[in-house]
């Protein structure tokens, strides 16, 4: 309980900090980057449940992002839908595509599942190019703005922040619950998960659909932020980028992948000379993390403290309380009513 509340305290402090960014940011560009981090994080927060908690290596989420973006640009731009409604539809479409991708592929073992998701993202890009009348083909589509007060850069930033907060809160709720334990059991010990009655395929599918919804919403916001989208925007490298954010952040953490997303998005932009070396930079950082801190940067502080002042684990003798156990077992339902 204490741990739980401290998690939410961290979230609260984080949000306060994010709220203050427009006050001390130097220019519009920095706000643009902060907004981009928020939009990427919406996608990564969903993907993190799939990769970091359930252990399913999806490298195809750029396809879902692309679907959300194009759905938004077509609905809100071409067809003149209300942008909020268009964003919601984009999310649902992302979820639906997640379902259609997950149904055949989530039964595949790790590496093959990764390949299936990669193939999916490549197919999406080809379809976007082929369906020129709908998507503008190689020329692309304009991504409309949201209405006031979210049409300005700062207004839109706060809008993204609010949505990102909701997704962060939702994923925190999931990982601290029965569902979180079930997902982690799929990642760490499938046989234990089965023995405890966890429906492995169904649970994977549900969390994958959720990540599709997040990617769809993220795509809608992305189209609006970029103001113009083309197939070149949704290159496969972007998919790897999301994946790397989670690996660098560390599995089984929410703060870590968030820091990963923020650092990987911001550093190449802020440190201008690095911008051209973007991919080199990701590669190098990934190598360092995998070799030096495999737990991820989310656990960096924890690890340093442990190095400097190791906390020794004492062996606690077991002192069973059998009368308590007898009482607990006596409350088991099957004696009264049989099976449910």
């Amino acid at each position: 309980m204490k741990y739980l509340s401290s998690k939410f305290t961290q979230l609260f402090i984080g949000i306060l900090f994010c709220c203050s960014i427009p006050i001390w940011a130097n220019d519009q560009y920095q706000i643009h980057i902060a907004t981009l981090i928020g939009i990427y994080w919406i996608l990564v927060s969903g993907l993190n449940l799939v990769v970091g908690f359930t252990g399913q290596l999806s490298i195809g989420h750029v396809g879902l992002l692309s679907i959300g973006s194009y759905a938004f640009a077509i609905l809100a731009g071409k067809l003149g839908f209300d942008p909020y409604l268009a964003m919601l539809v984009s999310g649902c479409l992302g979820g639906l595509c997640g379902l259609m991708l997950g149904l055949p592929s989530l039964r595949l073992p790790g590496f093959y599942f990764a390949m299936a998701t990669m193939a999916f993202s490549l197919i999406v890009n080809e379809l976007v190019l082929a369906q020129g009348e709908l998507t503008g083909g190689g020329i692309g589509l304009a991504g409309p703005l949201f209405p006031a007060p979210f049409e300005s850069a700062i207004g839109f930033y706060y809008f993204v922040l609010a949505i990102a907060t909701v997704f962060t809160w939702a994923s925190l709720n999931i990982v601290r619950s029965m569902w979180g334990r079930a997902l982690i059991s799929i990642r760490d010990s499938e046989v234990a998960a089965q023995a405890m009655g966890v429906p492995i395929f169904k649970a994977k599918l549900i969390v994958f659909v959720f990540s599709g919804f997040a990617a769809g919403v993220s795509g809608a916001l992305f189209a609006s932020l970029q103001s113009y989208i083309t197939p070149d925007t949704f290159v496969f490298e972007l998919s790897l980028f999301f994946f790397v954010c989670i690996i660098i952040g560390g599995k089984g953490s929410i703060l870590g992948p968030f820091l990963g997303t923020a650092v990987l998005t911001a550093l190449p932009e802020i440190a201008a000379p690095l911008a051209k070396l973007g991919n080199l930079f990701y590669g190098l950082l990934l190598l360092i993390v995998v070799l030096v801190i495999p737990e991820g940067i989310g656990r960096l502080a924890e690890m340093l403290i442990q190095k400097i002042r190791p906390r020794l684990v004492q062996t606690e003798p077991m002192n069973p309380d059998f009368s308590k156990l007898t009482r607990t077992l006596a409350n088991h339902e099957f004696k009264e009513g049989g099976q449910k």
């Binding site: 079930a182 234990a192 405890m196 549900i206 156990l325 607990t328 099976q339």
Partner: protein
């Protein structure tokens, strides 16, 4: 040796079970039954098919022939998960825990089959979800305190010592509120003192009306706490009976116990 008749409510019977892996016959037409409130020991040399039998009972393997019944319900074609819902809990020869999660979270995983909360309700942390979570956490905590892990509730499972990990697995299975508990070599690697605790623990579990299958190599331990004992050798049953009958059987002594 039997307990009161009223606790014979539930029974699992595996009938004429055979299991072939390719050309290898791991089990050859063996039968075994578990009853509520009874400890059934399963012994035999390495490779005699004890763990195979346990895996068949809880659905990790499908039998090549034969039938597994729980009272009148046929379990043979049910999945592992469906059998868990019907009340089969198990532990593993090598503890299968979630290494980074606390002992409490590990035990709570056993409560999955009692969880009603859906994914979306959980994402929005609706009040009934929180209430359910608290109720299940209380059950898990009581169970952990009961088996002797009350002082390490928040310690990650990978920092527990071996004996504690074994007891945590048993606690996790008990949180499932099982009708039957299948223990795969629970005494393996335990210290003498821990084995005594395990013996008392199994007695408490038995007294609560749960049927226990005990696959074990420590024959002293088995003969001391079991109501019935079955001995396997190379996939065949060679003796079934009370501990005394099995202990003094010439064939069992020849292939397993030694003179």
């Amino acid at each position: 040796m039997s307990t009161t008749p009223s606790s014979f409510e539930w029974e699992i019977s595996a009938r004429d079970i055979s299991k072939k892996f390719g050309g290898l016959t791991a089990l050859d037409s063996v039968s075994l039954s578990l009853r509520a409130g009874e400890v059934h020991g399963l012994i035999g040399p390495n490779g005699s098919g004890k763990t195979t039998m346990l895996n068949l009972l809880c659905g990790f393997y499908a039998p090549s022939s034969g039938q597994i019944l729980m009272n009148s319900q046929d379990l043979t074609s049910l999945t592992i998960q469906e059998r868990a819902f019907l009340g089969l809990g198990r532990t593993f020869q090598k503890p299968r825990l979630l290494p980074t999660l606390s002992a409490l979270d590990n035990a709570l995983l056993g409560a999955w089959i009692q969880t009603q909360s859906g994914f979306l309700a959980t994402a929005f942390s609706l009040p009934f979800v929180r209430k359910e979570e608290e109720k299940l956490a209380e059950l898990a905590k009581e169970t952990l305190q009961g088996v002797g892990l009350g002082s390490v509730l928040n310690r990650p499972a990978n920092l527990l010592d071996h004996g504690q990990q074994r007891f945590l697995e048993i606690a996790r299975a008990l949180v499932m509120k099982p009708k039957f508990l299948l223990l795969d070599e629970p005494a393996g690697g335990l210290t003498g003192n821990e084995i005594l605790l395990l013996r008392d623990l199994i007695k408490v579990i038995k007294a609560s009306g749960i049927g226990v299958l005990l696959v074990e190599h420590h024959t002293d331990f088995v003969f001391r706490i079991c109501d019935r004992v079955t001995t396997f050798n190379v996939g065949k049953m060679i003796k079934h009976g009370t501990p005394n009958e099995v202990r003094t059987d010439a064939e069992v002594i020849r292939v397993y116990l030694g003179a």
